[in-house]
């Protein structure tokens, strides 16, 4: 059984009550949203897998060329304070597609389905609107690449562990769908790419560095180490153990190998950028540029050497923060960067419903981002909570601070994100920050209190004790 809303609404009813022009002014009186917003626009959700926040050339990353993401950024709004719900694939995707936390969806680890009674976006749109719901690429809740995704018509599956080739099939399938479709119904299309997740395969075939750089001519091109390559040794044991399990310690990496890994990671991102470019080009070629909302994000980030980490799972920014763009040329502001509002992957579900003009399920943790795009001074509680793999950790982010706690671990972390955005100085034991710590623990408890967590969830009660 899926959750029901009080007032389901169909497309015809919606069109009667919507469609009016909306005009919003900024505090300076600048017009930011003028064109009449068509009701029920097409919506394309583009997902990448394991993409670090700072990997868009137009957003200032000088080690990469991402013409497609640059174009998308220039056509829309880039959010720089964007977090995934959980820095692991399946759990994060369960958050994106349900608007609920991974402790609620029953997907605290990879390989689990979203639990019965919680609808995914495809099911919800199918039930409450006329949208065609189309899916291409990685799913992972629970099957990685499958035709059997509830609520969606799957036009291509993809290939496990091989985004370098399966992503091309995924974007080609979207292109073929867009060019061949004859329906006049609006579409909600998910283009879900695996890259740059192939960095996991790369790490396994480049664990042991050679004496010399494999491609000598790259030496001058390698990006530097990140500023926060070193880390505060007063870390929770869970974080330390995770780092030791990864490949670099096994391979005893030197600085050159770390930098070569970073260079290689950027190339992985460029690969997926090319596939995103094909989707954007197809929207243009099929005259859907101005009637389609494009939402882009990633399921989680990548270590990239920050805190000497690779891959994901930690609650540091490199794993938790993700790029996020919303674009709707002619109807939403263009070339904007929102650096102040905190958002999460759970916000995608209500945002899509908002654009589609349908109500939300009764229980919803995410918030529609539309007001942040259309209103000059929207009400927005700048606090987000994220979970970690196996329900083992929590992160509470407020506008200035970030609090991290792991179950069964005495050491918590508190960072001043304004003074120390690289999270290198853990303030949790500093007497000056007792009240800040208390405030964040209380926020966490307040958040936990409202959750309807899955039965038999490990560490379900761990967070209350943190108070």
């Amino acid at each position: 059984m899926l959750e029901q809303t009080q007032e389901p609404i169909n497309r015809r009813d919606f069109m009667k009550i919507s469609g009016g022009a909306t005009l919003a002014l900024t505090a300076q009186g600048k017009r930011i949203f003028a064109a009449e917003a068509p009701s029920m626009p097409n919506i394309v959700l583009i997902l990448t897998d394991q993409q670090h926040l700072d990997t868009i050339s137009a957003a200032g990353c000088s080690h990469i060329q991402t013409p497609a993401l640059d174009k998308l950024k220039n056509r829309g709004t880039l959010f720089t304070q964007s977090y995934c719900g959980n820095p692991v694939c399946g759990p994060s995707r369960s958050c994106i597609f349900s608007g609920r936390t991974s402790s609620e969806t029953g997907v605290p680890v990879n390989g689990r389905p979203i639990r019965e009674g919680i609808p995914n976006l495809g099911q919800w749109l199918s039930q409450h609107s006329d949208y065609e719901t189309i899916y291409s690429g990685k799913w992972h809740v629970p099957e990685g690449f499958t035709h059997f995704i509830p609520g969606f018509d799957v036009i291509n599956t993809g290939i496990g562990g091989q985004g370098n080739i399966g992503d091309t099939s995924a974007s080609r399938a979207c292109e073929t769908y867009l060019h061949n479709r004859t329906s006049d119904r609006p579409f909600f299309m998910v283009a879900s790419f695996l890259q740059p997740h192939d960095i996991c395969e790369w790490l396994r075939i480049n664990t042991y560095p050679p004496d010399q750089l494999r491609y000598a001519e790259l030496e001058s091109e390698l990006p530097p180490l990140p500023d926060n390559f070193e880390y505060d040794p007063r870390e929770p044991d869970y974080v330390k153990r995770n780092r030791q399990r990864r490949d670099p310690p096994k391979g005893n990496w030197d600085e050159m190998q770390w930098r070569y890994y970073r260079w290689s990671y950027y190339r992985h991102v460029e690969m997926v950028d090319a596939e995103i470019g094909r989707i954007l080009q197809s929207l243009e070629d099929t005259d859907h540029l101005n009637d389609t909302v494009v939402i882009f994000t990633s399921d989680h980030g990548e270590g990239m050497g920050h805190h000497q980490t690779v891959r994901k799972s930690s609650l540091y920014e490199e794993a938790l923060a993700v790029p996020f763009i919303i674009s709707w040329p002619g109807h939403l502001p263009q070339n904007q960067t929102n650096t102040s509002h905190l958002i999460t992957g759970m916000d995608i579900f209500p945002t899509v419903c908002d654009f589609a003009g349908i109500p939300l399920p009764e229980i919803m943790r995410g918030r529609s981002l539309r007001p942040l795009l259309t209103k000059p001074d929207p009400a927005w509680d700048d606090a987000v909570v994220c979970e970690s793999n196996s329900n083992r950790g929590r992160m509470v982010r407020t506008s200035r601070y970030k609090y991290i706690a792991y179950a069964k671990d005495e050491v918590d972390q508190l960072f001043d994100m304004r003074e120390d955005p690289g999270e290198t100085r853990n303030l949790s034991a500093d007497p000056q920050y007792v009240s800040v710590l208390k405030e964040h623990r209380e926020r966490l408890i307040e958040w936990e209190r409202q959750l309807v967590v899955a039965p038999d969830l490990k560490y379900a009660n761990a967070w209350w004790r943190k108070g």
């Binding site: 199918s126 990685g144 509830p150 562990g161 395969e201 075939i205 001519e217 490949d247």
Partner: protein, 273 residues
């Protein structure tokens, strides 16, 4: 208890693949093989998940067939099939007219892009055409044309598989081009250069590599007849093979079985699983 797996640890090269039982030598090159003449090279497309024991799969096939055209051009036929999970088949068929220049730069082409579901019903097809000259290419789909333009001469990834066979084995050899990957997406500033002679216990091959925007480094291995034997890029390899078709059929069968298992598991159909 989970099976113990050993990470590969090192980039994929012919001897490592041999050591992992993923490569049992290359087909013998006919004595009269001429890279400038007419030939067919069929490659199995093998992917590695970074473990020695499992996850190394043949997921497709690439066949390149070169035939004469005019004094200045030749024809390159491309047939590529990829078996996506649960046997969603993605096929490319392309015919490219190439210049007889160093990078086999395309003059014009037709490409068909086809998706077939596991039950073989209702294949979805998209046709495109293109032409290129110098640093600019035009790609047309359904009468809509877009331009790809860059700073370097444009060729295609498949064309480089042909071109590398005509390059001299000399340290001074290098090309700088842009590519249209799959005759479609534009990747800039690809630098292809001769790397040297690769000699290991079982192989003596000529070695090139290519570095550029949007790709992991490509490495090309050729025999002394200038026939391209193997290409690697990251975890993907193209291996010249006599049994590529049979391997592809095996993979299709395997993925069809996976599809049927899931169909049974999620009985009720695609949308309502």
């Amino acid at each position: 208890m989970a099976k113990k797996r050993t990470i590969v640890g090192y980039p994929l090269v012919p001897d490592l693949l041999g050591d992992m039982n993923l490569l049992q030598g290359f087909p013998e090159t006919p004595a009269d093989f001429d890279p400038n003449g007419q030939w067919i090279n069929t490659y199995r497309i093998m992917t590695c998940h970074g473990y020695r024991e499992d996850g190394n799969e043949d997921i497709g096939l690439l066949r390149l067939s070169k035939s004469p055209d005019t004094d200045d051009t030749f024809r390159l036929q491309v047939d590529r099939e990829i078996v996506n999970d649960e046997h969603r088949l993605h096929k490319y068929t392309a015919e490219i007219i190439c210049r007889k220049d160093l990078s086999a730069s395309p003059v014009s082409w037709r490409l068909s892009n086809q998706f077939t579901a596991p039950n073989q019903s209702d294949p979805q097809t998209l046709e495109e055409t293109g032409k290129a000259n110098g640093t600019t290419a035009e790609i047309t789909i359904n009468n809509r044309t877009r331009i790809a333009s860059g700073a370097n001469p444009i060729t295609a990834d498949w064309c480089l598989f042909e071109a590398v066979q005509r390059l001299p084995f000399e340290s001074s050899t290098s090309l700088v081009v842009d590519i249209l990957e799959g005759l479609s997406v534009h990747k800039y500033n690809q630098r292809l250069s001769y790397r040297g002679l690769y000699t290991r216990a079982n192989n003596s091959l000529q070695w090139f590599h290519q570095i550029g925007h949007g790709v992991l480094p490509y490495e090309y291995w050729l025999d002394d007849h200038h026939r391209l034997q193997m290409v690697t890029t990251g975890a993907r390899t193209y291996i010249l093979s006599d049994d590529a078709e049979a391997r592809l059929t095996h993979q299709k069968t395997r993925e069809t079985r996976a599809f049927k298992r899931r169909q049974k598991k999620y009985a009720g159909g695609d949308r309502d699983a």
